[in-house]
Symmetry: D2
């Protein structure tokens, strides 16, 4: 049996016009700005309009410590949304936007996989609705303003050796990691060391994802610590009076984007701060929008539960006033065997002994999440190579410490 | 009497939904991709669909040698389109997109002025439909590929000191003009001198504006000369096999954008190569679209006629198979006085003597344009400070060498 | 009572012509090259000439772990030489040359102190006989050759990111620590990161001090590892065929320099590799020359015995075939109190309790040196603030583990 | 017939001890500092000691516009000195010191050629008496002080983009021409563009050669313009208070160096400012010393008479109070043919026609020099390829405008 690639499946998707998806969620045309036929930006006014519907239940998808290829959190999230919909429940998925970079690299996009994907995949993976470009522009406007300020007399007394805020680009560009700028004499300003990060690592990305509205965004942008003076005093973005212009550049980017899954379940894709240096979740506004529009809002947090879920609870939930109703901890049998000491090339070989060692990772992650006082369920993202014995072992293991387990074959199964 | 600023006028515009503007041009919803309510990208299929309508007349707006503030070519172009519409003629305007940079700088946008503007001004001046971001991304993908190629063994033997293709950013960033990249040891690649230009100066901008379709675009991208080898042999973009990915990044950017004027005249705004180093016109596709959809297509060329109109005829018309039916040479009385030797602070003082010296510039530009065998008309972009005597002098001057003249008060007059 | 400064004492020295000092050592005029009236370079032929005299006894001066101002190894070495001479013994001192840098900085020169100095101090501290300039020139010739090789086709396939050999300058120049070279286009070669070290840190300094003759020097220069190829293969100096020219630049620098102490005791000052990254002793040739010409050759090794004396035994003695007859371990009471926990501003206050704790440092250093099978004597470099009780304690302490101790007031006492 | 190379001839020289040469000039041992056996530095006191002898006659050797290999000014100068001596006249030659660089490059040293050389050639071409090393050290001490000043608070408000004074190295090092310094964060100071010149191009070299004594040198060093402030005000060396230390570094370098020719004629070799950017003559002190000690002082000026001799008269003579008694204009027949249009590979072919065209260069140079009111003689530096007809033509030509001519075969002829 041969499997279709993610791209083949995505290309064959029977999408509905995004206006139809929006209408099904009760949105008027005024509340949506279309970007082509299958993407729309959602007005922030939606969040404040009176509604007979209560906010939905919030479901967080997290995972054990992941192996390099990932354990399929996005896939399970998308699959879970589709499953609710098949059960005729009103579910809305809220996920991160992928970076432009990976499209041309080796990592898969962040749009799910198999028969559990969000579409239009290509658009989402390319420019989408321009959010990352807007963040790049706002970030680099601030950088240009810093150098410009120093060039024009440096009234703030910024020490060019202690500028913390770096330029960004939405592409992995090794040569720009560490650069020297300002070469070429007096008209080109002052020399200094600088570097480009990828856009998802921009502090502005993190800020956008934690902001509650445009005013809050502007306030937060103003508070960015950009440098120290020669006397060691902090210099903030607002000292350069550039946060207003930056906010203007982000006025569309702050609006969550509506797309759909392969099965036409609504999905809100918005924001993408990296999980290792920032908090790694989609925007608070996207999650709030999913809660407002759906009866079940499914969202995820980057990396394993010990990193991603903790940041989700400690940062995103506090800033956003969110309270999850359930946490799904995704695991794969191959990853648990990996944690049990099995080499990569043996992941597909049934090995209950290794599995029994690796499950300690799952147990600990579940225990940790339980401390937040939220119900937990384990989802096994099933691979065709998983053996019956291994599955049986896992079920018994979960039963033994009283956590429900569910097999999840959303990647493999179509309608 | 006090005048409203351009922004105040633009903010007060009574725009129609872009879908309405499109329908009036005979476009179906499938032929348009909406970007919000007042912008749309036009399908390239429109150019090839059978039509009962003949292509429109092509009117090129150019000017005398401009003074620093410009003589108002865009304003005259927009005003001309609005005038045709008031006369119940089907006119479509085709102009360049403005750069993101100027918004925060001192130069005015390129969206016309006064009561002759295209709208939504703010959107057009900010991210618009993302064309410049896509060009930036494609440009910088190529740059990253060059450095990446050198880093991974440099099979093509590229001399890092002779790389011609530079990175770009859609912002004026002095500090990035001359930089050193690749610092930081082996993992960051090889050091070399580089620099960022503004996006409108990217060769990809020029290419996009000269391409006839996606295939042609890809072909042209492949032919970009990016560097020389250590042996002095040329290296082309296609040698890196990255032109396919670059084309994918530009697949939406190649589509012309439909907006409207303050009086709801359709305007196609697309592409913006700088006029001093590239050819300085909007895209061939935008002009062809205006010809296909309108009975009168009004377009412009950057700088004075000796630079912009010549490039228009010699480059854009040849590549695009275009043949203008009429050329409008814009002049202002203050600019002609400037050419007659009047200092900037005296531009508003009536001075027929200076004017009579300065008109030699107008005469020469008109003579030059006439050599292309196209009818010429002079448009005087009227300022409130122009005196009757000066206007009378100009009329007689034009009459004396048989070129029609028209006073143009589109900036000042509302409906 | 007020003390003269080192400079005042040195300026007042009654030096003898260096020709007189040389003659007293049995040297002919042909065996000396004079550099002014008080410095001479000694011909290497001296080492090979037949002599009725046996080689002298070799005395190594080392110390406990030093405090920042140093414990006075050089002062004790010089004083010891002068003491031998007063006893009408034929002693020759062999010390390191000081760096040019410190003259203008805060650290004292390395020419001893008080009434135990080598002179002419100013000459020795400035250009002396040009040895460090020659090393600088040889070092930088190699560097220029590396960049030149890469510029002219790089036949050796040197990876410019993996060049190990750095430029040097005989001055502390902060701004040159980390630089980028080769900027300015094709004619200026390839960009790369580089840096300047101080000359005493040059590998060539270490090599010069370990070489047995000019041929050996050339051979060792050729073996310098300068870089790696793109394939990770080592590239040596001799691959560039520049070691011959480097040797020519060093043909005078390899010859030991003869000067005198304040009491006209002959002193051979030659070579100065830093003790933290190299072996920190004067040249093997200088020590051999002192052994050849004197009945007692007194030399020293940088830092404490655990670093300097170990390197002296393990590196210099092995390469040079040397075998010390006695080791002097210098200590000061203030340093031992420092090791016993006393703060700097209390060093002058008598404190036997602290001293009794700090002596463990002295004990361990002496024990370590004894493992080399050489007789050890402790020299207390006396300060005017040392109390009788402290001195008495130290004497008893040394007696308790059977190591002779000597009070040393060479700094203070004149003839 | 085969010719010995310059090196072979120099190696075979029968040098006298420099003490003997000095004694013959009436110098006591106190007035000389020996640097080995064949070099001595001369005390500046010599210039001021009472003497029964009047100052000698000053003869300047200059040339027509030179061809790339040079026309042999140094060779003629040395030969002229030797010729005087053979005539039992007391002549002293004063020439420039050669740069260390050329030794390893293709250009010949500046020590004359054939049988008209100064010796010991190798020493003179290598470190000589350390003058250039001292200039390098003083130059780079100033540079380090500038960066150090900026690092420590920049009280003088120096604009790091407008520092005029560059580092130097006595080697041609392409990679150092344009560099960036100060990389590596706060502890390494501020980034700025800098570059290394060769030592002979240092302003300190020019200053040393124009100074009349140590006090004058210090004064001149203090007046070096090193940078501009942010406000465009000049900053001088003395503002950094480093000119005293620089002077100390130059206290030996200021003393002229005594060597000898192959025929033991005394030669004073001192200073070597480049002729294209500085004045291109040996030091004023060296020329004064030659006048003091000899009855005939023979010196030269770099490049052709229109550049070198003019600078000699306008700069060196004025600052030094010198007045030449005779000027020798050196020409070669091959160079005159070159000026007459003959290609390099035909220089050896007799061609009177070309010669008759090229002599206009000689005529103009002679005319120019005559304007200084000094007697002129033309010296033809003879090559074995010169034909009798050509020589005859030249003689008649010089006779025709009343300038004496002399054939000069000093290169070829031995005693």
């Amino acid at each position: 049996m041969s499997y279709k690639s993610d791209i083949e499946i995505a290309m064959g998707a029977k999408m509905e016009r995004i206006s139809v998806i929006g209408e099904r969620l009760g949105l008027s045309e005024d509340e949506m700005d279309f970007y082509g036929k299958y993407k729309a930006k959602l007005s922030l006014d939606i969040l404040n309009k009176p509604s007979t519907k209560k906010d939905g239940k919030l479901i967080l998808v997290t995972s054990i410590n992941p192996t390099p290829p990932g354990e399929g959190k996005s896939t399970v999230s998308v699959g879970l949304g589709q499953a609710f919909q098949r059960m005729r429940k009103n579910a809305v998925i809220a996920l991160r936007e992928p970076s432009l970079g990976p499209v041309f690299g080796m990592k898969g996009g962040a749009t799910g996989g198999g028969f559990a994907q969000v579409v239009p995949m290509e658009d989402i993976n390319l420019h989408f609705t321009g959010d990352f470009h807007a963040i790049t522009a706002a970030n680099n406007l601030l950088c240009a303003s810093i150098d410009n300020h120093i060039h024009h007399g440096n009234l703030l007394d910024i020490d060019p050796r202690r500028i913390l805020f770096k330029r960004v680009m939405d592409i992995n560009d090794r040569a720009l990691r560490h650069i020297i700028v300002g070469i070429g004499g007096k008209t080109n300003g002052f020399l200094r060391e600088d570097g480009f990060m990828i856009t998802v690592a921009s502090e502005i990305m993190a800020i956008l994802c934690l902001s509650l509205d445009l005013e809050d965004l502007k306030e937060r942008l103003g508070r960015i610590l950009i440098a120290y003076t020669f006397d060691g005093q902090p210099v903030y973005c607002k000292d350069l009076k550039v946060h207003g212009a930056m906010t203007m550049l982000l006025k569309e980017a702050i609006k969550p984007n509506l797309v759909q899954t392969l099965e036409n379940t609504p999905a809100i894709i918005h924001g993408g701060p990296v999980a290792n240096i920032a908090h790694g979740c989609n925007s608070i506004l996207a999650t709030k929008m999913a809660l407002k529009l759906g009866d079940y809002a499914i969202t995820e947090a980057g990396f394993g539960a010990d990193l991603g879920a903790e940041k989700f609870f400690d940062i995103k939930c506090r800033f956003g006033g969110l309270a999850p109703d359930c946490v799904v901890v995704v695991a794969t049998i191959r990853a648990l065997k990996h944690h049990g000491g099995v080499a990569k090339d043996q992941w597909n070989v049934p090995d209950v002994a290794a599995l029994s060692k690796g499950v300690s990772n799952l147990r600990k992650q579940v225990e940790n999440v339980k401390k937040f006082g939220v119900p937990v369920v384990v989802a096994i993202n099933k691979f065709v190579s998983d053996s019956e014995k291994e599955i049986q072992f896992l079920k018994e293991f979960c039963s033994s410490f009283n956590v429900p387990i569910a097999l999840c074959d959303v990647w493999e199964k179509r309608r």
